[in-house]
Symmetry: C3
Subunit: 393 residues, 3 copies
Amino acid sequence: MSNCTWDIPSTAREQSHADFQLGPADAPGTPRDWSITKRTLTSGASTGVELVEIDNGRLKIRAVPTRGMGLLDAHCDGERLGWKSPVRGPVHPQFVSLMEPTGMGWLDGFDELMVRCGVESNGSPVFDEQGRLVHPLHGRIANKPAHNLKVMIDAESGVIRLQAVVDEIRFHFFKMQLTTTLFTSFGSTSFGWEDEVMNLGSTPATMQMLYHLNVGAPLLSPGARLIAPVKTVSPHDHYPDDVAVRDWQVYPSLPSAAPQQSFFFELLGDGAGQTQVLLEAADSAQGLAIRFNQRELPCFTLWRNSVPAADGYVTGLEPGTNFPNPRPFEEQHGRLVTLASGETWRTSINLDWLRDTQQVQNSRAAMAQLQGDARPEIHPAPHPHWSPRATPT
Amino acid sequence: MSNCTWDIPSTAREQSHADFQLGPADAPGTPRDWSITKRTLTSGASTGVELVEIDNGRLKIRAVPTRGMGLLDAHCDGERLGWKSPVRGPVHPQFVSLMEPTGMGWLDGFDELMVRCGVESNGSPVFDEQGRLVHPLHGRIANKPAHNLKVMIDAESGVIRLQAVVDEIRFHFFKMQLTTTLFTSFGSTSFGWEDEVMNLGSTPATMQMLYHLNVGAPLLSPGARLIAPVKTVSPHDHYPDDVAVRDWQVYPSLPSAAPQQSFFFELLGDGAGQTQVLLEAADSAQGLAIRFNQRELPCFTLWRNSVPAADGYVTGLEPGTNFPNPRPFEEQHGRLVTLASGETWRTSINLDWLRDTQQVQNSRAAMAQLQGDARPEIHPAPHPHWSPRATPT
Amino acid sequence: MSNCTWDIPSTAREQSHADFQLGPADAPGTPRDWSITKRTLTSGASTGVELVEIDNGRLKIRAVPTRGMGLLDAHCDGERLGWKSPVRGPVHPQFVSLMEPTGMGWLDGFDELMVRCGVESNGSPVFDEQGRLVHPLHGRIANKPAHNLKVMIDAESGVIRLQAVVDEIRFHFFKMQLTTTLFTSFGSTSFGWEDEVMNLGSTPATMQMLYHLNVGAPLLSPGARLIAPVKTVSPHDHYPDDVAVRDWQVYPSLPSAAPQQSFFFELLGDGAGQTQVLLEAADSAQGLAIRFNQRELPCFTLWRNSVPAADGYVTGLEPGTNFPNPRPFEEQHGRLVTLASGETWRTSINLDWLRDTQQVQNSRAAMAQLQGDARPEIHPAPHPHWSPRATPT
């Protein structure tokens, strides 16, 4: 016994004690196999990060209050919905140099299934005439800590809700408050969230919101497809021929000639503006349907990061009030939301993690119905209304 | 019982456990109704903030060691002395991007009754020739955590003291150490602090200090008055006519044509340099007298933020070694303090929260005596000695 | 008993509870007088800093996981190996504005015996054409928190090891992981560390590493000497005559005409590349030998900070892959390390804290053997291959 090894315990990433827990015994009339657990992580760059896990009996969803109530991932049947970023998080905002002069510090904490980009701004960094950072990449909200966490369980309808408030407030400048309610139902593989952003200030203010939904393996692989009811699609940038826009539906094989591609969409919706997109696995045995309202979220961005696993193989499916261009470009094209004093912007997004071929097929059918006879308008090159990379005419 | 709601406990802003407490039983010979309590906050952007509450039996004062020993507020008779900032703090420095390129990050944490601005610099941000931030708005000290907290109680004189040390130290650059002692007496509605700033370095160094005292409703309202023994007063900037400098004494009705105004004062003092100003409520039923020594704090700035409550209705009453202009302007006009190696700058400020008309009247009489026959010199426009906004001649 | 004073306990710097502890009872067959203790500090700018103390029975070494596994100091026989910085740390990275526009924020946390500078870059800050900070002074690694701490004790060989992992990872940009193993033996006054830096990304990446070893009094004093087997030496900058390069071996008397000096060395090694330098006390009664391999660490920098104690009297002894010039200069002169995908760079450094004249003499003899008949090539002025301060020809 001459050789002993000990892990120093507080560094084991998620062995920290649960500091809040709920289960069937707490809510009469609920099923027998759910739980809600809050932990505070204690290791490395995750130190101090609060993590809430909702286990609805079938699906486990992990939310990160400390990071603006982003969603880390979901688990079902031993599979994970999310992606494997080279960043090993969740990273506490104290270790994210969000406002560093290049504006790229946000990438130090980028590893979640869902990251909110906003709310003063999102998209590429913006600098003033002297080169000083004004708007960092994708804004501040994902690195603001939530407060006033609340759990609500409705035994009758079977709905579990987790509510929290995130402030994005600077004296003299912005005074925005997000109230977000994550929801799921006992035994379901669906979940979603309702967001309200209120302008607490006394004068009108503008905002942007983009939901950066990120999915990697196993759902994503070469040959996986994005199905969407498309009015128009155009690329963010000029890409090599073999990743032409006409191929936006099928994820390319690796290695890709153009590993980074973004496409900007206007979608088709029903009479009430409801629309959806579907990420379908290559074998069609599973999928992720994302349902939202295009009156609230008129812009949809597809991002393909077709890189080796080590670099973070992932696709971004991003409903938003705007495209992730620099804020002044979006402002110029009318894609800011203006809120009067006390006014609230609202939206909700539903995710259905489709678990078999039948469910996938039903989702495809719903999409076909939305598309109807409409023929997608495909722009092979960046379009000046949607992208600052368009060739000036 | 089909609908249950739980607040997740650690997020209830001030429900965190007291981690230090003193009371009558700890100090024989003291009154029966005082306490000193230290808590560590656990919610949102306040997570990790230490808060010390001194209850002297009449007045409760809350100090924030984690934020450079600023003072959050005071309470008496169910009323609060302080203001309601759109910022919901106290905000932990880890969530204040103090050094972001614009230099305005300090405003993310601005919500206290008293914030120290300094000590390397205060005032507007300063940039180098390439536009790089050198001095952030109002300096670093308010976002530096205190250490060596100590409580001292003198049962005989009835004085309670809370002492702490705050370092503003960068290898090769600045080596300043603030020792601050907050004091009050059992049953009193007065309190104050003695500050010592020592140059720990081996060579002379310059410093600035401005006490940003911020008061909102109910003491502040349109019609409230600032009473001060004035030698000269001049505006920071050119303001519209209806906020002419001659009206500096009376707080304007809302909405104001010029919500942001600052006035720079030289005050009159007694033979020892002692002076004071009085913020008097519109109904004269209460007031706040601020007493200090103009040899230590020769500059006094009045800031009016005449905005709706939602944006933070507040006035700043700011004794300082200088005016809150960019440091190079103040340096050029001789308003830096130079400390030799090991030298200490000292000052003390007393606040009297006047609780009835008689006390207010006595304070006004003291002010009248300081004013005597001297006629205030009123500059209707920015003056080049005091403001960089003066029109060049 | 009318006057009472209390220290508020959680602010007593190192009175925080041990949250992990090992001793003889945990590892059968080990000596009776060793311990390994981990604490989390709770005061001021040290709040939240994890500190691991290894007491091997003779020597106490304190490592700082929260600061990239830097080494704070070592203690032996009542003496301290380290230095007294004006910075009172260890400072938590949350209080270090590493990425502030000037790039000098690193200095807010500079007080350790050993700080790693790297790994994307080290040396002076680098800015882009618009003056925006790209590489901060000495890089990010020293302000990244470690995870996966592990203690290994080999009772047979008597070796104690403390291993930890530090990530320097930004999505799209850098993906470097340091695994470091601090080691010492029961009863020894020697210690060291093995470092592995792995490129986790899928494409080649470049790195730099410099070990900033800092020693002050009592080992350092005027008259102390640096002994090294020298091939070439040249100054970083143009210095006044009385600190001519020919005097690099002897630490100057104080006050010095040029308090800041750096000298760049190529050393001589044995057939396997092993080399060493010795910092010898003025009375030769103690010394510090630093052993490393020049194939891994081909550059050695001597930094003299010959300032009064208050400003941080210290010398830097800095083996590195490069000299601490701006990264582009080092790149231009071939002093970056390129790592293929998955490739690992390795090195190890041994420190012998020599405790008597005989040990010092032996070390000098070893150095003399390495020097042999080779004559040091002394450049009196900055040389264009090694310093950007060289006068253009």
